[in-house]
């Protein structure tokens, strides 16, 4: 009763005594003993707890007050981050403003495995999620599941570079089931609209750390302009670099890349590509085919083809004209080597070759410029001994003949070497090489493409070097160097800087910078240029370049066949043809190089033929009117015999026909280069065809016309001769002109029109057959074909590449005849390659 508190609680006077009781004494079991007093323990705990709390507060004070600045600084340096703002890469456009290369996005998908679960439905297992993801991205289920089970990992990549549509499906699925832990990162990707179109010019860009870096071509050369400038935001961020709203960020705006507009003309590029592919497939040249088409006045590059080429969207996949089996057997390293040395490389600017006779143009020009000769001067072509080891003679000597004495002009037409050695000797080493240097052969041209090669020229030339260079041997040039000098010759003597890019535009298409033509220097006088041009004209008209003849347009040029004298390729040739057209009003300069065709007997006319195939449609496309002379009509109507082809392989037949100026059509599906030709239509023993006539090859014995590929008869009535030729080529038939070729067609046999089912025609036409009609897809166009310009589209381009080695591109396009037309509205048909008689007045 120690603490008694007595108070008066109320008025009535009752007292309340509050007692603090002591612990009630316990009755201990037999014999009391000491025990630990619970209250002592409680007290001890109180002291301990208080001490601990004090220690915690002290430590907290130490960190928060004493070391505050230190940690605040560490925090800030971690929270403030520079966030990159990646600019959009500019597009690459052709001269007509069509997009050739653009940028899109693809997506990488990664997961944080332990967070991948449905918040909505617990019954959705990891297995089900893995199943779904695997089916969306066509992945191995087990692989996805393994990835999702790596619970310790913070990030596991599930799929890379996936297109938008797959991502949309995934997103819908994730949102519906509230599945977390999946990260989708967009990465920029370059796409190329026309796959292999101008592949070496455009080049490709690889994705590297969220930016695209150009590897070849324009993509590489204009990489900085296309890329633009990165922007930065300096801000407080979360750990994933997302900006936080607490403090205003400092921002440096990004600048998007500019668009690059090329001088490359889509139509001319397509024409040139098609012509090159045809030649490539005929000759399989070891070092490819290269073509440059330029505007001689501005140095603009209209077209630039280098074969083999490749699909820009899949630069590492099988390239053009590569045998699939061979490709499959190659190791990755071999593949890369092949791609880098032969495919990605732009041969027209990186390869060097001996220019050969095309260089005689320059030798002649120098001599004329210096007034050391004139066109009608007489020369002897006897062999010249330039040193004890070297004797230079005319190519004809090999065949046991010679040209005897001839004028300079004739020597030029005949490409007779000793004459040019004489000219060079007259000019003298110093002066000659001074000119050569002046033409820019010791320098790159400065074309706006990367990896421009530099030819080999002697720094201290001897007289042997001089003699051999006079006809283009023992020194090498790049195709672009030579084409550029040809341009100078054509435009009256001014050397221009070759230019692939026309202008730079911004996102809205407004021009930011236009590349004006840059004249480097004058290298010929106009007079000299004109005199050399005149001689070049006669090369095509009367000399070695006759294969370069184009009806209606005057082509002037110079052929060249340079021989490889050493190394494993000894005996192989580089065939080239440099030319321009039309003669009177030059629009384009074309240089064709067929580098080391497998057939060592092949002459330079092969290159001239490619040029002719390019010039004809290109000038038509450029709107240059054809002017047919009497001579032209005569040439057009000359007929040629079809060579014997039975028993040869398709590849051999193609080469023979191509060299003989015939078009090849494969009559059956599934024919390859290795198939043996069993039948030819029209029959070579009885038929002769015009130049560029169509010859159909069959790999099986054809006994009657009904078994052949059928095509509809086009309407020729009212058309002129040149129109008829294009229509016939397009439709895959031949023509035979009766009457005056300068007039128009008044009648044709067989007729154009529809077969009346009541009166079947007795032309042997297969009216009721609905066999696959190879050309039916062109039918409608064929009926008003007068407007047809053989402008190959880029899709044809694409087909060509994909179907290489399988069948000729033309023959693959086959659509079954629509059955509704059967009966009354059946077009009159003939076998493909049939000769249609046209009467003209």
């Amino acid at each position: 009763m120690s603490n008694i508190d007595m108070r008066n609680r109320n008025g009535s006077g009752s007292k309340i005594i509050t007692l603090q009781n002591k612990q009630p004494t316990k009755t201990k079991p037999s014999g009391s003993s000491l025990s630990i007093n619970g209250l002592v323990v409680v007290g001890l705990l109180l002291v301990l707890g208080t001490l601990f709390a004090g220690m915690l507060i002290y430590k907290l004070y130490d960190i928060q007050i004493n070391h505050h600045e230190e940690y605040a600084l560490m925090g800030s340096s971690m929270h403030w981050n520079r966030i990159k703002d990646v600019p959009l890469r500019g597009d690459i456009l052709d001269s007509k403003g069509n997009v050739l290369a653009g940028t899109t996005y693809e997506y990488n998908i990664g997961v944080t495995p332990k967070d991948v679960k449905s918040l909505k439905d617990k019954s959705i297992t990891t297995e089900m999620i893995a199943q779904e993801i695997a089916s969306i991205f066509s992945l191995e289920y087990t692989e996805v599941l393994d990835n999702l089970n790596q619970k310790d990992s913070i990030y596991v990549q599930i799929a890379k570079k996936r297109p938008r549509n797959e991502i949309d499906i995934l997103k819908t699925y994730l949102e519906e089931n509230q599945i977390g832990g999946v990260r989708i990162d967009p990465v920029p990707k370059r796409y190329y609209v026309h796959d292999s179109f101008a592949s070496q010019v455009i080049g490709f860009a690889d994705q590297n750390d969220n930016t695209l870096i150009g590897q070849y071509g324009i993509e590489a050369y204009y990489n900085d302009i296309l890329t633009g400038t990165e922007g930065y935001t300096y801000a407080e961020t979360d750990r994933n670099q997302g900006a936080l709203p607490y403090s205003p960020p400092t921002t440096i705006e990004k600048q998007d890349g500019l668009n690059v507009v090329l001088n490359i003309d889509p139509t001319i590029q397509a024409i040139a590509t098609d012509a090159c592919r045809e030649a490539y497939e005929a000759y399989h040249p070891k070092e490819g085919v290269g073509v440059i088409v330029m505007n001689p006045y501005t140095g603009s590059v209209y077209a630039m083809v280098s074969l083999p080429d490749y699909n820009l969207n899949e630069p590492r996949s099988i390239p053009y004209a590569m045998d699939e089996e061979t490709w499959a057997l190659m190791s990755d390293e071999e593949k890369t080597n092949y791609l880098m040395s032969s495919v990605w490389r732009n041969r027209t600017i990186s390869d060097t070759y001996e220019p050969g006779s095309t260089f005689k143009v320059l030798t002649t020009a120098i001599a004329l410029e210096e007034g050391l000769t004139f066109e009608e001067e007489m020369f002897s072509d006897e062999p010249i001994e330039v040193s004890s080891l070297h004797t230079i003679s005319c190519w004809r000597q090999k065949h046991g003949g010679n040209h005897g004495t001839e004028t300079l002009k004739q020597a030029f037409e005949n490409s007779c070497n000793p004459v040019f050695v004489q000219l060079a000797m007259r000019i003298g080493i110093n002066k000659y090489y001074q000119y050569v240097r002046n033409f820019g052969f010791y320098d790159v041209t400065g074309i706006d493409l990367p990896a421009e090669g530099l030819g080999l020229f002697h720094s201290e030339p001897s007289s042997v070097d001089l003699a051999t260079l006079s006809f283009g041997e023992s020194s090498t040039v790049t195709p672009i160097q030579l084409a550029n000098v040809f341009c100078a010759l054509v435009n009256g003597g001014t050397l221009m800087k070759p230019q692939v890019v026309k202008a730079l535009t911004d996102r809205n298409g407004d021009i930011i910078h236009e590349f004006a033509p840059v004249a480097i220097k004058t290298v010929f006088s106009e007079n000299t240029a004109n005199r050399v041009k005149e001689m070049m004209k006669s090369v095509v008209a009367e000399g070695t370049g006759s294969a370069g003849y184009v009806e209606g347009y005057t082509v002037a040029g110079k052929t060249s066949t340079s021989t490889i004298d050493i190394g494993e390729d000894q005996g192989m040739h580089v065939l080239s043809f440099g030319c321009y057209a039309p003669f009177d009003n030059p629009q384009i300069v074309v240089l064709v190089i067929i580098n080391k065709p497998l057939d060592k007997e092949l002459g330079s006319s092969a290159a001239a033929r490619v040029a002719a195939q390019i010039i004809s449609p290109t000038l038509e496309y450029l709107g240059v009117p054809r002017e047919l002379t009497d001579e032209d009509y005569e040439k057009i109507t000359i007929k040629y015999a079809i060579p014997e082809l039975k028993g040869k392989t398709v590849a051999e037949a193609k080469q023979i026909l191509y060299t003989n100026h015939f078009e090849v059509i494969l009559g059956e599906e599934g024919m390859t280069d290795k198939s043996i030709v069993m039948s030819v239509y029209p029959d070579p023993s009885v038929s002769i065809l015009y130049r560029n006539g169509s010859v159909v090859l069959y790999s099986s014995e054809i006994v009657e016309e009904a078994m052949m590929r059928q095509v509809s008869v086009p309407d020729f009535v009212g058309k002129s001769l040149t129109d008829c030729i294009s229509i016939a080529q397009f439709a895959g038939v031949n023509i035979d002109i009766v009457g005056n070729p300068k007039g128009v067609v008044v009648s044709q046999d067989p007729q154009y029109g529809f077969v009346d089912s009541a009166t079947p025609s007795d032309d042997g036409m297969n009216t009721e057959s609905n066999v696959e009609d190879g050309e039916s897809v062109f039918e409608e166009e064929g009926s008003d074909v007068s407007t047809v310009t053989p402008v190959p589209t880029s899709t044809a381009d694409q087909n060509n590449q994909e179907d290489d080695g399988e069948a000729d591109a033309d023959s693959v396009i086959s659509t079954p005849e629509p059955t509704v037309d059967l009966g009354e509205k059946q077009r009159i048909k003939v076998p493909c390659g049939a000769i249609i008689k046209l009467t003209m007045e």
């Binding site: 409680v42 709390a53 407080e236």
Partner: protein, 441 residues
């Protein structure tokens, strides 16, 4: 006075003295303290878990909403417990049930539990998972209290006597120490095997504290302790001899992370290099250790005296892993500074003092063990967590009661608080009031 229930003892009536025993009265300060801690905890969790919730669950409020729901359930539990006199629970049958459930849960976890990063500590209930050791913590205190109370009742009733008095001390030590410790040791072993060292340590500490306050004779401590040590050595060496090499390796591997943690901590104090170490990654004994510690210290240090202001933490944006869980305290310190940080320590300290004050006034062993046990449990958890956050001890993976996300654990803490409050109401000695009547009849 009017609202008091008075109990008038007949004997004193005659002597004109009325002895009144004060009625059951709730410890209001303790209740208020609990409410403050719950609210404070929810508010800080809201701020700390926004970023984690958004990033991991696509819902910034995910953690705080779940926490709120569980808190609500817990508060209902508290409210119910308040109206039940604490002696209602003092039955040996409930002890048997509680221990059976604990062992069953632990065995179930051991066999079928959800493994995460090499540790099997969770079992799944519906769409959620919870750590069984949290239940065991609450059940253990409850059981020790019930058991001790039962033993004392038996002894008072003259039971539990040996025929030969010589053996009485040994028998008492068996009843007092050996038997209960053996049963608890089973639980502890199961927890250790999960492995969950921090829970093991807390459970051991709580057990010791509960035994210390339960009035066990010194002789029992001595005999029982000796028996247990001998038994432990014998069993341990038997196990060592019987078990295969691979089993040993497995065990070593299981506890490797503990030693690594300790090692890391030693190096960390001398050098602030980066490392990751947290509860959900017990096996990450890797080079990326220490990251969490560093991030936590940066968070706390950036706070300064007044902090960056509520909601303005930067470290919670994925820099500090487990910002919503083991490191809520660091975020609180970053946002509210020394003022906020020390206020949390002081609140828990006040809770501790309040709980111990209740224990001081308890009327029997049962209530005292409950009050001391549960108060210690919550305070030890809190102080350990804070010590980890400020880098005073190596990371242990102990959550901060009322603050850390983890709804189920919080629910059990609230039950514990309910028990404390119940004890404060019905388990303490009541004041006796003697009214000496001067009213003349």
């Amino acid at each position: 006075m009017s609202n008091r229930h008075s109990h008038i003892e007949d004997s004193s009536f005659d002597s004109r003295k009325i002895e009144l025993e004060s009625p059951y009265r709730l410890n209001i300060p303790m209740l208020l303290l609990t409410i403050v801690l719950i609210c404070y905890g929810l508010i800080m969790l809201f701020s700390a878990s926004i970023s984690v919730g958004y990033n991991k669950m696509q819902n910034p409020l995910y953690f705080v909403v779940f926490q709120g729901q569980m808190t609500f359930v817990g508060v209902i539990f508290i409210a119910i417990l308040l109206f039940i006199p604490i002696k209602t629970f003092n039955r040996i049958s409930l002890v048997v049930i509680a221990m059976s459930v604990s062992v069953a849960l632990l065995v179930y976890t051991w066999q079928f539990g959800m493994a995460l990063n090499g540790a099997r500590r969770w079992i799944e209930v519906g769409s959620k998972s919870f750590q069984t050791s949290e239940v065991v913590k609450v059940a253990l205190v409850f059981s020790i209290a019930g058991y001790r109370s039962y033993v004392i009742r038996m002894r008072q009733a003259g039971r539990l006597l040996t025929r030969n008095p010589k053996w009485q001390d040994i028998f008492d030590s068996f009843i007092d120490i050996v038997l209960p410790v053996s049963v608890i040791a089973i639980c502890l072993l199961l927890v250790l095997m999960q492995p969950h060292v921090s829970s093991f340590v807390i459970l051991s500490a709580i057990t010791l504290i509960c035994f210390l306050v339960s009035g066990i004779k010194l002789k029992s401590w001595f005999y029982g302790g000796s028996i247990l040590i001998i038994a432990g050595i014998v069993l341990g060496s038997c196990f060592y001899l019987v078990s295969s090499e691979s089993q040993k390796e497995k065990i070593e591997k299981n506890f490797a992370h503990v030693f690594v943690r300790l090692n890391i901590f030693e190096t960390m104090t001398s050098d602030d290099d980066e490392s990751v170490e947290n509860d959900t990654q017990p096996d990450s004994t890797d080079d990326s250790s220490l990251y969490q510690n560093k991030q936590s210290t940066i968070a706390i240090g950036s706070g300064g005296l007044r902090g960056l202001g509520f909601g303005n933490s930067r470290q919670k944006y994925m820099y500090l892993p487990e910002a919503h869980n083991d490191f809520v305290y660091s975020i609180a310190c970053e946002e509210l500074g020394l003022i906020g940080g020390s206020s949390i320590i002081l609140l828990f300290w006040a809770f501790f003092v309040g709980g111990m004050a209740i224990a001081w006034r308890t009327k029997d062993v049962y209530s005292r063990i409950l009050a001391v046990g549960y108060t210690s449990l919550i305070t030890i958890q809190a102080f350990l967590n804070i010590a980890v956050a400020i880098g005073a001890i190596p990371p242990t993976g102990v959550t901060l009661p009322f603050f850390s996300a983890g709804g189920s654990a919080n629910l059990f803490f609230l039950v514990a608080v309910g028990m404390i409050l119940s004890v404060s109401r019905s388990g303490v000695k009541r004041k006796k009031t003697i009214i000496v009547s001067e009213v003349m009849r």
